[in-house]
């Protein structure tokens, strides 16, 4: 017994040693002191400038962390470009899945254990802002280069801005489309046309069970429902810009519409394909409504799916109040709780990132984000991307409610699940949801920017 015990101990120690030596997946690069001050590299950027010919951290070696929740490889290529300029700097990318990221990042920042750089999402604004360092960039330069940067000024400081806007589109499986005898001519413009197309794409077995869904929204109604409301001119917040406007007739109508898609028109089922994103990827659902990030996920995880994208349908042929909601995709944040050297590196990296059109373009293309950098708005590569091409036709009619807290999306999803899975009435669910959101938003500093929408007068 004693022998067994000590054998296990020795074995474990050996194993953890092996783990230590072989386990380092990516050894940090070997850092050397940088002495070449004059690198004779061109200065990047028009207004927001990045000058590579200045040493950072006096040329001394230093490593900082950069947290991301997704697509580490995209950020890695940007980091590689930056590290090439500065042999004394290493930026280590640490990736956490979305859910874990938001559990850990705010607390890590708060106690100074966090990364120097991190990806920001505006739905977490309130949890992050107290521990963020303002950009060391002139606001005039930022607003000259980026559309909408002025919306992010807090007490004459900017902590992050948007590098572009993301919204939703319908993704469709081209092979199923052809199989059902549909052509590009059949791409629907209105929801009625959409339902007809979806019916053709739905397959059922002899018992009437669905084997291929025409349309699937399971697990992700939250990103779609607000767009449906905006199409009918209903805002997400009441006039004071703070009270959530969840329980209203338009929302009820749209929830009923979503239910009818399954229950009346039979173009999908709440029990077929538990999550829309996977079901589409597995080739079991013909159409899904997803936001731009899905383009990247499909290309990475389901390379076999032959898909196309079209604009979200509308209630009728006229231009709606807004086609959809968009959300600003935030630039990278800097921690205020790390040491000064780390902050210096982070500030330099932010400048590099913001003045580097190629890097921004790559990011926008991978995530299907319509760039807010003015020099990229007419870029040929951007306009030839399938999702962005679709977006460019509606971009003037997309509305942004502002960086509202995540509880709105989470709670709307729960309310809808209560309706579709728990047989609760639309009225009750929305009333509960409204109360829950109100309680969660108490003490959160938020004001809607819906009133700044270009076509607000059409309401």
């Amino acid at each position: 017994m004693k022998k067994i015990f000590s054998a296990i101990l020795v074995f474990t120690l050996l194993l953890s040693l092996v783990g230590c030596s072989s386990g380092e997946s990516k050894p940090s690069k070997k850092l050397e002191t940088d002495t070449t001050k004059e690198k004779n590299l061109p200065v990047l950027g028009e207004n927001v400038k990045f000058d590579p010919n200045i040493l950072i951290n006096n040329g001394e070696p230093k490593e900082v962390e950069f947290w991301v929740w997704d697509s580490a490889e995209i950020f890695q290529s940007i980091v590689d470009g930056f590290e090439k300029i500065y042999p004394n700097i290493s930026i280590k990318i640490v990736s956490h899945p979305w859910g874990d990221y938001w559990t850990k990042l705010p607390l890590a920042l708060q106690n100074g254990e966090g990364p120097a750089l991190f990806c920001v999402h505006n739905s977490q604004h309130d949890n992050l802002i107290n521990n963020m360092e303002p950009y060391d960039i002139d606001i005039k330069d930022l607003t000259a280069d980026f559309t909408g940067a002025e919306n992010h000024v807090i007490d004459d400081k900017v902590y992050y801005i948007d590098y572009g806007m993301m919204t939703g589109s319908i993704f469709y499986n081209k092979d199923m489309w052809t199989e059902a005898g549909l052509t590009d001519e059949d791409i629907p413009a209105t929801w009625d046309e959409f339902i007809e197309v979806a019916k053709k794409l739905t397959k059922k077995d002899s018992k009437g069970n669905i084997t291929q869904a025409g349309f699937n929204y399971n697990s992700d109604v939250k990103s779609m429902i607000m767009g449906l409301n905006y199409q009918k001119g209903e805002l997400l917040f009441k006039e004071d810009g703070k009270t959530p406007n969840i329980n209203n007739d338009t929302m009820k109508e749209n929830m009923q519409f979503l239910l009818d898609l399954y229950n009346v028109h039979g173009i999908g089922s709440k029990d077929f394909g538990v999550t829309d994103a996977e079901s589409f990827g597995q080739g079991q659902s013909a159409m899904v409504y997803k936001w731009g990030w899905y383009y990247n996920q499909l290309s990475n995880d389901y390379p076999d799916i032959n898909f196309g994208v079209f604009r979200i349908p509308t209630p009728d042929k006229d231009v709606p109040f807004a086609y959809d909601r968009y959300n600003g995709e935030s630039t990278i944040g800097i921690s205020s709780t790390v040491d000064d050297a780390s902050k210096e590196i982070a500030q330099a990296f932010i400048r590099y990132f913001m003045s580097n059109d190629e890097a921004l373009k790559e990011l926008c293309i991978k995530y299907s984000i319509f760039p807010s950098k003015k020099t990229l708005a007419e870029d040929a590569d951007i306009l030839s991307h399938p999702v962005l091409k679709t977006l460019s036709t509606t971009v003037d009619y997309l509305i942004w409610p502002g960086p509202f807290p995540s509880t709105i999306e989470t709670t709307l999803q729960q309310s809808f699940e209560d309706i579709i899975y728990n047989d609760s009435s639309i009225e009750d669910s929305l009333e509960n949801g409204n109360n829950k959101i109100k309680a969660d938003m108490e003490g959160v500093d938020f004001s809607s920017v819906e009133s700044q929408y270009k076509h607000i007068e059409n309401k």
């Binding site: 017994m1 783990g19 230590c20 072989s22 899945p97 874990d100």
Partner: protein
């Protein structure tokens, strides 16, 4: 009913129950040899149609599985060894010494088993912040170093060691430490085995605390890693099944090593509760 018929029926019942118990495992193990397209096919299979080892090969490629595995193993063995020692020595003190406030302290030890994690997790987390122990194994090992359950089990079993035996050793001039290490400890082997099995399992599958404490990926433990794997490669079911299959092995080995003494150990302690 004849004895033979009875025995047949009992065996039949047991085998049915074993099958129910084992099927999810078999299915997982078989699935770990399937391709992802077979796993996500709308007509599910039990045995793999196309046998592939790729999932096992890729597990290490897509995330640092071996490293996480080694981390978990190290932590579980370290915590188990420490808990065994602290439980035995505390159990010895509670069983064989008299001191003021003994009942109060023992009551406290038992009471701690009743306190839900949720009460202490928030302040403990802030304490780890103050200690600067975040992202450090100290924060995982030290708070787990004493187990109320272990002390309870040990006190029960050490009470049954006759006092005369210890007295005899004392008269021979043995120190208290000697008595503990050379007499009490070896006599407690059975209970040690049961504590080892319980504690190893608890440490092995502990999720929430390491999840909150450890942030660097190369220090992360396996159970958190498995969840992260699912978050990041949510589409790679084959990989998940392969990783899970491997993660079961060490606990099974620990069980198989200690199981003989395991039941005797429990029998010797808590029964007389």
């Amino acid at each position: 009913m004849s004895k033979k018929a009875k025995s047949l029926i009992l065996h039949f019942v047991l085998i049915i129950l074993v099958v129910i118990t084992i099927i999810p495992f078999l299915w997982m193990v078989f699935s770990s040899f399937k391709t992802n397209s077979e796993i996500t096919s709308i007509t599910p299979t039990f045995l793999p149609k196309l046998f592939t080892f790729n999932n096992y090969v890729n597990v290490q490629k897509s995330f640092n599985f071996l490293r996480l595995f080694a981390n978990s193993l190290f932590l579980s063995v370290a915590i188990t060894a420490i808990v065994i020692y602290t439980s035995t020595i505390s159990g010895f003190v509670f069983a064989k010494y008299k001191f003021r406030g003994k009942n109060l302290l023992f009551g406290l030890v038992l009471g701690t088993m009743m306190i839900p994690w949720c009460v202490t997790i928030i302040p403990r987390y802030s304490m780890m912040l103050d200690f600067k122990w975040l992202d450090s194994y100290l924060a995982i090992i030290i708070p787990a170093a004493v187990s109320g359950f272990g002390i309870f089990m040990m006190r029960q079993s050490i009470s049954t060691i006759p006092n005369e035996m210890l007295e005899a050793a004392r008269i021979d001039g043995a120190s208290e430490w000697f008595i503990f290490h050379k007499i009490v400890f070896p006599l407690s082997q059975n209970v040690i085995s049961s504590i080892a099995i319980f504690q190893f399992l608890w440490s092995w599958e502990d999720y929430l605390w390491p999840y909150l404490i450890i942030s660097s990926e190369e220090k992360q433990v396996l159970s958190v890693g498995l969840k992260m794997f699912n978050g990041r490669y949510g589409t790679d079911y084959g990989g998940l099944f392969a990783a899970t299959t491997i993660s079961i092995i060490p606990v099974l080995i620990v069980y198989l090593i200690f199981q003989k003494r395991f039941i005797d150990g429990i029998a010797a302690s808590s029964v007389k509760g």
